[in-house]
């Protein structure tokens, strides 16, 4: 199930033309943009996602199941729907995008930030769910003990909570990053497709499938290789150790 498609891809690879294909401007631009936007998305997901996960795991409030469902919605929603929703919200005719453009002149669609926004939208839930699970499952007596010994809430969070959930935190970041790297539907719907500005590797692969299949296969291989290198490195280092 997982291996056969991979073998199919490798079998289709035009090995002789590969060096020339993977060093073309289109591929290098797309690779650079993919790495930059997915890393930014992982970082933003971390900054916004950890407080959100903490609130969902630790604070009792009415409507929490609903908020939890909304946060995980992008995981089940077709990304194209997410992209359309982002367009209705942050497009120049959108709820937020319109006022934002008239106030600052900043327009998210068709810019790199549109790609990042689409990535965060689909990727952040993976981090939130992972971290929330760890926070809900951890033994809170350590935090109480630290607080009882006079540590401030921030110190408790920094010195006790974060170290205890560190493996999940890292796993969440890696999952979010990986999901962002492969993002396609929301990106092309919301951010468009322009080499060097919004064309990430998955978009470049999709467009090349129509015109130059060898190039599409070569780019797919680059994407697989980058993902494998990062996942193998991080997983070995972070996920096997508690």
């Amino acid at each position: 199930m997982f291996v056969v498609p991979l073998i199919g891809l490798v079998g289709r690879t035009p090995w002789r033309r590969l060096p020339e294909l993977v060093t073309s401007d289109v591929v290098l631009d797309a690779l650079r943009l993919s790495l930059v936007t997915s890393s930014l998305a992982a970082l933003i997901s971390l900054v916004l996602g950890v407080p959100l996960a903490w609130v969902l795991a630790r604070v009792e409030f009415p409507g929490r199941p609903l908020v939890r469902a909304i946060v995980t919605l992008p995981m089940v929603l077709p990304p194209v729907v997410g992209g359309a929703a982002l367009l209705f919200a942050f497009g120049r005719r959108g709820l937020v995008g319109g006022p934002l453009e008239s106030a600052t002149g900043f327009l998210m669609p068709f810019s790199m930030w549109g790609v990042v926004a689409a990535n965060v939208f689909v990727a952040m839930p993976f981090l939130v769910v992972t971290v929330e699970g760890a926070l809900a499952g951890m033994d809170t007596r350590y935090e109480h003990a630290a607080a009882g010994l006079g540590a401030s809430r921030l110190t408790v969070f920094r010195r006790v909570t974060v170290p205890m959930i560190a493996p999940s935190l890292r796993a969440g970041v890696v999952l979010a990053w990986a999901r962002a790297l492969g993002e396609f539907g929301a990106t092309i719907t919301f951010a468009g497709n322009l080499q060097g500005r919004t064309q990430t590797l998955p978009l470049a692969v999709f467009v090349a499938l129509e015109s130059d299949r060898d190039a599409a296969v070569a780019m797919s291989l680059v994407l697989v290789a980058v993902s494998l290198v990062v996942l193998v490195t991080l997983r070995d280092r972070w996920w096997t150790r508690p």
Partner: protein, 137 residues
């Protein structure tokens, strides 16, 4: 263009304006190649903001008023109703897509196929096609 023509587009040369959000279909997609051909005919170097994967995607963004101008088929402008409006290109720059009609050699129902082709080519068929923006060959 989106209806109301917010970018005040008057012709192909406006696609070179950097202040407009310009969309085309991607290269390799028929509407993208034809659009680029028309731009080349007019000697315009477009300031592209997005290369959409297909004509429907481009039309959707135009209809949502998220792009100022794009090149699609005349038939698409008609099918999109009042959400978009089109401008006629000068005949010298315009490019046409031609659609062949043919009966398969091994058609299981040759009589039906012949009847359908005859209908498409009849005055009634011509009228329907005209109504959708398909010109006569």
């Amino acid at each position: 263009m989106p209806s109301g023509n917010p970018g005040e587009v008057t012709g192909l040369s406006d696609l070179a304006r950097a202040d407009l959000l310009v969309g085309l279909c991607a290269e390799g997609v028929p509407c993208g190649d034809l659009g680029r051909e028309a731009l080349a005919n007019a000697g315009v170097d477009p300031s592209i903001d997005t290369n959409e994967p297909d004509v429907r995607a481009l039309l959707t963004k135009l209809g949502a008023d998220e792009l100022d101008v794009g090149i699609v088929y005349e038939t698409d402008v008609r099918s999109a109703g009042d959400r978009v409006e089109g401008i006629d290109l000068p005949a010298a720059d315009n490019v046409l897509a031609t659609y062949p009609i043919a009966q398969l050699v091994s058609a299981p129902n040759p009589a039906g196929a012949a009847a359908f082709i005859a209908f498409v080519r009849s005055a009634e068929g011509r009228r329907i096609l005209d109504g959708h923006g398909f010109g006569a060959p």
